[in-house]
């Protein structure tokens, strides 16, 4: 009889509270004409902050990972770090959603409820310790995201985004699940540590089952992080989805997917390390090259940021490729910095955006420095950070990722990373050129802020700069998120 203790449910108080929050918002949204956007946003912020506090207090994290609830979940520094990053990303998403949801006259209660439930799924994902619990949590996140992508249902582009995301997402989930089932067939284990222990023998007895299984598993996971060649859904979904949702997909969803990718590869498949390193090296290279090259020709800022987010997936893969202590914590650090940078950049898109998707072109940024100097300065910080120029968190993160790859002997992949970063300077700074060197015309949209948006942008700017100027404590924080290496 496996050890099982119901009291361990108390250790999952943060996740349970967040799920209750989502259900409460759903109930509130169903009364009368629904809750106003501001009230719904305040409620979800309250639940997110309370959940973060619970993560910090209730979940005791010792030096050893603690397996709970029949070992389907684990409490460790890794899970705790990513839970906090995801909660921060969601809170910022809530802030930039306030005006947007009110503006479009779409119901706010259900929107925020879905956001919280998706986040619940992410928290279970990063804490999952067997393939079944990780998969079902991943599906909870994915299904909520499909609905959120189509939330502006009167806009054709939003419908298209939701449908494409749903069909391709379901396909990738099926491939992932099939891969997991083949690995289970070969080893008879779903728990990551037992799977790792059973693999050496299974590679002999299971013959081709193991390689087929882990390759399919990788395809599914790489789809979720939008790595080339599994990225085709990304531009259309990012452009069509409501912008706050796009920001959420690019930041929180990507972070959670990277967390499970790293956990499954490092803790579940350490035996196959030399094999998956080759795959990751190839995928990382083409992702960095194609993401940056495709971004060069974009004139729509959302689409450009979509390709930029693909390129950044390639940079993060460098840390996993290194499969070293420094590699893993630089992945964690980069995802922390990237969450703030991306959300900030998308918050700027929200500021200029109008209904019918106007205000998304690069030319709409013309003369922004004169009309709104602070907003232009904020955007400049995000552009510097996305390119990886000091004094921003993006620079520190990239340096450590590249250093980790070089240290582990993958210099050529790191060189591709440096070269493509140089290319990215061109398209990021086409926006800066518009803001500072071009004059606005009569058609240029006026920036339209709100207190919540300003708060979100200010937080992101401060976080981006602090991570760049004083990275010390955050690096220590990320180092506590390390996983035991093979």
């Amino acid at each position: 009889m496996p050890a099982f203790d119901l009291r361990e449910f108390l250790l999952l108080a943060p996740e349970i509270l967040l799920a209750i929050g989502g259900l409460a918002l759903l109930l509130a949204g169903s009364v009368g004409r629904g809750v106003p956007g501001r009230v719904a946003a305040s409620l979800s912020l309250f639940f997110l902050v309370a959940t973060a506090l619970l993560v910090l207090t209730v979940e005791e994290v010792g030096p050893e990972p603690r397996l709970i609830l029949g070992s389907s979940f684990v409490l460790d520094g890794f899970a705790r770090f990513f839970k906090l990053v995801i909660l921060a990303g969601t809170a910022l998403t809530v802030l930039i959603s306030v005006r947007f949801v009110d503006d479009g006259a779409y119901r706010a209660g259900e929107y925020h409820a879905l956001l919280l439930l998706a986040t619940t799924g992410m928290m279970f994902m990063v804490g999952g310790f067997n393939l079944v619990s990780i998969w079902i949590a991943l599906e909870l996140m994915a299904l909520s995201s499909y609905i959120l992508a189509g939330y502006f249902k009167r806009e054709t582009r939003s419908n298209e985004a939701a449908l494409k995301y749903f069909v391709l997402g379901a396909l990738s989930s099926a491939i992932l699940l099939y891969g997991a089932s083949l690995l289970y067939g070969a080893t008879g284990e779903l728990r990551l540590d037992l799977l790792a222990a059973a693999l050496p023998e299974a590679m002999v007895t299971g013959r081709l089952l193991v390689p087929t299984g882990w390759l399919m598993l990788s395809v599914g996971l790489l789809f979720k992080v939008a790595a080339v060649p599994f990225h085709v859904w990304t531009p259309d979904v990012y452009v069509g989805a409501p912008t706050p949702v796009t920001a959420y997909l690019a930041a929180a969803s990507k972070t959670a997917s990277f967390a499970i990718l790293v956990r499954i590869f490092v803790q579940g498949l350490p035996t196959l390390l030399p094999d998956w390193q080759i795959v990751i090296a190839a995928v990382a290279s083409v992702t960095m090259i194609w993401g940056n090259l495709a971004a060069l020709t974009q004139t729509n800022v959302k689409r450009m940021l979509a390709y930029s987010s693909i390129a950044h997936a390639g940079y993060v893969l460098l840390g996993l490729l290194a499969a070293s202590v420094i590699g893993l914590w630089s992945v964690a650090f980069y995802l922390l910095a990237y969450t703030f940078i991306t959300l900030g950049a998308f918050a700027m898109v929200v500021v200029l955006e109008r209904r019918e998707y106007a205000g998304e072109e690069v030319s709409d940024y013309a003369g922004l420095a004169r009309r709104a100097p602070w907003l232009a300065a904020a955007m400049l910080v995000f552009l510097l950070a996305l390119t990886g120029i000091p004094p921003t968190g993006g620079f520190v993160g990239k340096v450590y990722l590249f250093a980790a790859a070089v240290e582990a002997g993958w210099t050529w992949v790191a060189v591709i990373g440096v070269l493509t970063s140089a290319i990215s300077l061109y398209y990021y700074f086409s926006i800066a050129v518009q803001m500072y060197l071009k004059e606005s015309t009569r058609d240029t949209p006026e920036p339209l802020g709100s207190p919540a948006l300003t708060a979100a942008i200010a937080t992101c700017v401060v976080a981006t700069l602090v991570l760049g100027l004083f990275p010390g404590p955050f690096i220590e924080f990320a180092q506590a998120a390390g996983l035991p290496l093979p």
């Binding site: 009889m1 496996p2 099982f4 449910f9 999952l12 799920a19 759903l26 609830l69 029949g70 070992s71 389907s72 979940f73 119901r107 259900e110 409820a113 879905l114 439930l117 619940t120 799924g121 279970f124 079944v132 619990s133 079902i136 949590a137 599906e139 909870l140 299904l143 909520s144 499909y146 609905i147 189509g150 939330y151 249902k153 939701a162 067939g185 070969a186 008879g188 007895t205 299971g206 013959r207 081709l208 089952l209 087929t212």
Partner: protein, 177 residues
């Protein structure tokens, strides 16, 4: 003849049900009349349920029969009766990517065939695990229930939130406002 049947009965039944499952699955995607597609899908469900029963996964077989063969099938039939079938017949079901899809499909089948042929003749895994708990034979339903409500209790609960989200999504996206 009788000897052949008794000796290889299980294998013969397996191949019969497997063939039925594959043929009817092809029917689901290739028949033009949606009602025939649905009925073809029903045959797939039933054949797969039979395969589960043969592998001593009795609970799974019954769930397949009741939930898929019963509940889900009824939903499909409802939808088919609600949509306009005459228009569907004129719609082109496949687009111009048929050749490349065909090539990739054949490659995929070949790949899985290769994986399958590489496997040792005796299937890995212990079929008594399906019916026993701590070495004691308790039956398939009890053994599954034990694992489901202990080790997988939380994933099981997450699945219920998942279904709730699916319901919210259907209402939010489908509602006219």
């Amino acid at each position: 003849m009788i000897e052949l049947l008794t000796q290889h009965g299980e294998a013969i039944l397996f191949y019969a049900f497997a063939l039925a499952a594959v043929v009817s699955a092809v029917g689901v995607i290739s028949l033009r009349n949606p009602m025939y597609c649905a009925l073809s899908l029903l045959v797939t469900f039933l054949a797969v349920a039979a395969l589960f029963l043969m592998r001593h996964a009795e609970l799974l077989g019954m769930v397949q029969l009741f939930v898929y063969g019963g509940g889900i099938m009824v939903l499909f039939l409802f939808v088919i009766m609600l949509v306009n079938l005459h228009r569907l017949r004129e719609v082109r079901l496949f687009n111009e990517q048929v050749p490349i899809a065909l090539v990739l499909g054949v490659l995929l089948v070949a790949l899985f065939g290769w994986v399958f042929l590489s496997l040792p003749a005796s299937a890995p895994g212990d079929s008594t695990a399906l019916v026993s708990l701590d070495g004691e034979v308790v039956g398939n339903a009890k053994a599954v229930a034990w694992v489901l409500y202990t080790e997988y209790l939380l994933p099981f609960e997450i699945a219920s939130i998942f279904l709730l989200v699916a319901m919210i999504g259907a209402v939010v996206l489908g509602r006219r406002d």
